[in-house]
Amino acid sequence: MKDMYEPYETPDGRTIGGCLMEMKNITLKFGGVVAIKDISFDIREGEIRAIIGPNGAGKSSMLNVISGFYHPQEGEVWYKGAVRPAMKPYEVARMGVGRTFQNIALFEGMTVLDNVMTGRLTHMKASLWEQALWWGKAEREEVFNRDQVEKIIDFLEIQAIRKTPVGRLPYGLKKRVELARALAAEPSLLLLDEPMAGMNVEEKEDMSRFILDVNDEFGTTIALIEHDMGVVMDLSDRVVVMDYGKKIGDGTPDEVRNDQNVIDAYLGVPHE
C-alpha cells in the first residue's frame, strides 16, 4: 500500500505528494435514504481531484462530509495521517479545508474586498477588545491580512471590482470572488462545488485557468465537483465517479473515460 503514495511528478511539472485525506468506507444516511453507500477514496497532496456523477449521485453530500457539514453514520475520515473526529464545519475550516458553494454564498451587501477579508477570519487572533479599540495586535493583523488579501485579488485579477458591492456583480465574477474568499483562508485542501455551473464558455475558460494557477502557484490540493465533463477531464489528475450513492469508477481521466460502468451510468444502457 505504501508505495502508492510515493511522490511523483506530473507531465506538466507539478509534484503530487502523499495522501492528504482518505475516506474509508463512508456511509451517509438521511433517515431511510442512503445518500452515500460504503465509499472509499483518497486525495493526494497537490493534486486536482474531481468527483463526478449524474444528478442525485451524492456528490454534494460527499463534499459536505469532507467539509464536516455532514457526519457519516459509518466509516472514517482520515486527514493528514489521523482519523478526524466529528467536528463543526468551522473547526474543519481551521484545520485547513476551504470551500466554495454551488449556489454562491457571499455577503451581497459587502464589497468584494470585505468579502475576501472575511476569509482571513481563521487567521485573526486579536481579541474583541483589541479589535474594537484598534489597538495592539488588531492593527498589525489587519495590515498583514489586507496585504495577503490584496495578493489574492491581484492573482485572480479582480482589482477593478475591489470596492464594488458583491450584489452588483455578474454571476461569473461572483464565483471568482467566492474562490478568492476561500483562498484567503490559505487552505491546504480546497473544495469547489460546481465552480463552473451556469457559466458561458469564456467564463469557464477563465475559471479553469485560475483553478490550474491556484494549484500550480500555491500548491493547493483541490477537490471539485463538476458537471461539465470536458472541463473535468482537462483539469483533474484523478476522477471519482459516483452513481446512486455508490462509487462506480476511480482513476485518471483516461481510465475513467474508458470504464464501461461509467459509460453506462452517463449514457445509459438498455437493460437486457
Binding site: 485579488i153 482589482q159 477593478a160
Partner: protein, 657 residues
Amino acid sequence: MNATATPTGELCSVPALLRRNAQKYGDRPAYREKEYGIWQSWTWAEAAQEIEWLALGFLALGMERGDHVAIIGRNRPDHYWAMIAAQMCGAVPVPLYADAVAEEAAYVLGHCGARFVVCGDQEQVDKVIDVQDQLHQIDHVLYHDKRGMRKYDHEHLNWLHDIQEEGRASHYRHEEELRRREAELTYDSTCVMLYTSGTTGKPKGVVLSNRNIIETSKNTSEFDHLRVDDEILAYLPMAWVGDFIFSMGQALWNGFCVNCPESAETMMTDLKEIAPTYYFAPPRVFETQLTQVMIRMEDAGKFKRWLFRHYMDLAKRVGPQILDGKPVGMLDRMRYALGEFAIYGPLKNTLGFSRVRVGYTAGEAIGPEIFDFYRSLGINLKQLYGQTEASVFIAQQPDNEVRADTVGVVSPGVEIRIDDKGEIFYRSPGTFVEYYNNPESTASTKDAEGWVATGDAGFFEEGTGHLRIIDRAKDVGKMADGHMFAPKYVENKLKFFPDILEAVVFGNGRDRCTAFINIDLTAVGNWAERNNIAYASYQELAGHPQVLETIRSHVEEVNASVAQDDMLSACQIHRFLVLHKELDADDGEMTRTRKVRRGKIEEKYADLLEALYDGSETIFTKTEVTYEDGRKGSISATLKLVDAKTVTPRHHEVAAE
C-alpha cells in the same frame, strides 16, 4: 550643427535629464504605480538608483551600443526605467504595442533586429517565444511579472529584477563603462524608435533623436506652463509617440510625476484617485465617459435629473466663456458658482478631472457637443494636431483660444506650409531623423530642406490663424460628377451620434455616397434595455428593425447638415447598412490607434459594397474574424440595406429655378 551647442546646456540626453532630476528634485515623487491596492511611489533619487542598477545589469548581460531593446507591456514604472536604462547603455529602446498579435510583433522585432526584449508578463513572453524560432537575433528575454513563469526554460530568459540585482552586485565592474557610455550620448544620439501603426502597408520605424524629444518637450512645456508639481496618468500605449512625449520627454524635462494605473480595467478608478493636472485622451475616451454619465443620469431620481439638466444648460451657456475669461454677467457667475458646488465639482471629481489644468485630445475629430460639455464644466480641454514623425506637436490650441473645429495655432518652433493641393507640410526641431532601414520612405516623406508631408489636407482660417484639417489628402477624392468627396467629414458627423461607434463612407469615383455603420453597443444596448428589446448578440441588436430605423434618422440628419456645406453637399449618404460585427484591429480593419483602414475594408467587404450600389434589398455575407488569442473563425449574417432621404442643396435649387 554642433552637437554640444544645445539650447538646453548640458542636458542633451534623457539619462542626463534623469541625473539632473535626481539632484534637483531628489525628494519629489517621480513614479507611482498602484499595486496591491496601494500607490507605491519612487522619488527621482530612488528611480535614478533603480534605473542605474538596471543599466548595470544590462551591461552585465552584454548590451552593446546601438543594440535595439524592445519593450512590450502595459504602462509600468519598470518599463519606463528599462527604456532609460537602455539609453544609458547607448542602446535604443523600441516600445511595442502590448496588444499586438504575434505576427505584428514578429515584424517589428525582426525589422529592428532587437537583441533584448523586455516583456510585461507571461502573455508577452509567450508571444516572443512564438516568434523566436523565425528570428534568431533575440539573445535575452526579460520579464517583469513572475506569474506562471516558473516552468519556462530560463537559459535566455531572466526576471527583470534578477538582472537589476546582478547589476547592483557587479557595480564595481561595470560602473566605469556605464559612465563612459552615458558621456558619449549627444543631442544627435537616437533617443527612441517608435513604429507607426500605418493606415497602409507595414509599420515603419521612426527614429527620434534626443534633440527631437528634448526640444519638443521644452517648447511645449513652456507653451502650456507645465510645472514640477504636475501629475499625469500614463495609460496610453507605450508604443505611441504621445505617451513617450508626455511620460518620458515632458516628465523628465519638468520633473513631474508619472502615475501608472493598476490595470487597464481600473484606469477610471485610478484616474479619480490621482486626479491628474495634465491629461491626454483620445476623443473616444471622452465620448465613452460622457455616454456613461448620461446613462447614469437617466437612472437618477426626478429631482436630481432636473438639477443636472438645469445646471448643465447654464454651463452650456456661460461655462466656456468663464473658462476663456470673457465677460459674463454677475448673476450668471454666481449661479455658475452654485452649479460648481452642486453639480460640476462633484461630477469632475467622479470623472477624475478635478485638478486638470491642461487637457488635450487629438487623433480624431471630437464632436462639438462632447468638447463643449467638458469645457462648460470648466475643464481646460484643448485640441492638438500632430504625428509620430513630428514628435507629436505640429499645431495646438493656446489657452483661451479653443474651438471644436480647429486644431489651433502652429506649435512653438514649428513651421507650416500648405501646398496648392491643400496638403500640409511642416518643419520643426521635432522632425524625425529617418525611417529605420528605409531610405526610400525617408526620402519620399522628408525633403532635403527638412519639410515633411503630413498627408493631411487643411487650411489656415482667415483672421484667427488657426489651422483646420479637412481629411487625409489621399482620401479626398472626386465623385463621378466631379464633386469633392471627403469621407471623414461625413463620418465624423455620423460618429457624433452616441449610437454610432464607427462609420465608413464610400463614394470616390461613384455617382453617390453610401456607408457602413457600426453601432455603439453601450448606448444602443442601454436603449434596448430601456425599451424591453431582447437581444442575444451584437449581431442581433445591429440588425434589429428599430435600430436600423434610428440609425436612418441619424443619417438623414447628417444629410441635412452636409447639404449646408456648398463644397461637400454631394457627400450625402443615399444608402447604408449596419455591419454585423465591430470593426477591429485584430482583423486588420483598423489600426491599433483605431483609425479605419479604408482600403482594407473596401476589399474585405466588397460583396456588401456592391450590394449597396446594385439595388438589392438584403445581402447574405460570411466574414472571417480573429479572436483575441489569434485563432480564426467566421460569422455569417443577412444584412438589410437601408435607403436614406437626401436633401437638395441650396445652390442646386437656385440653379434649377
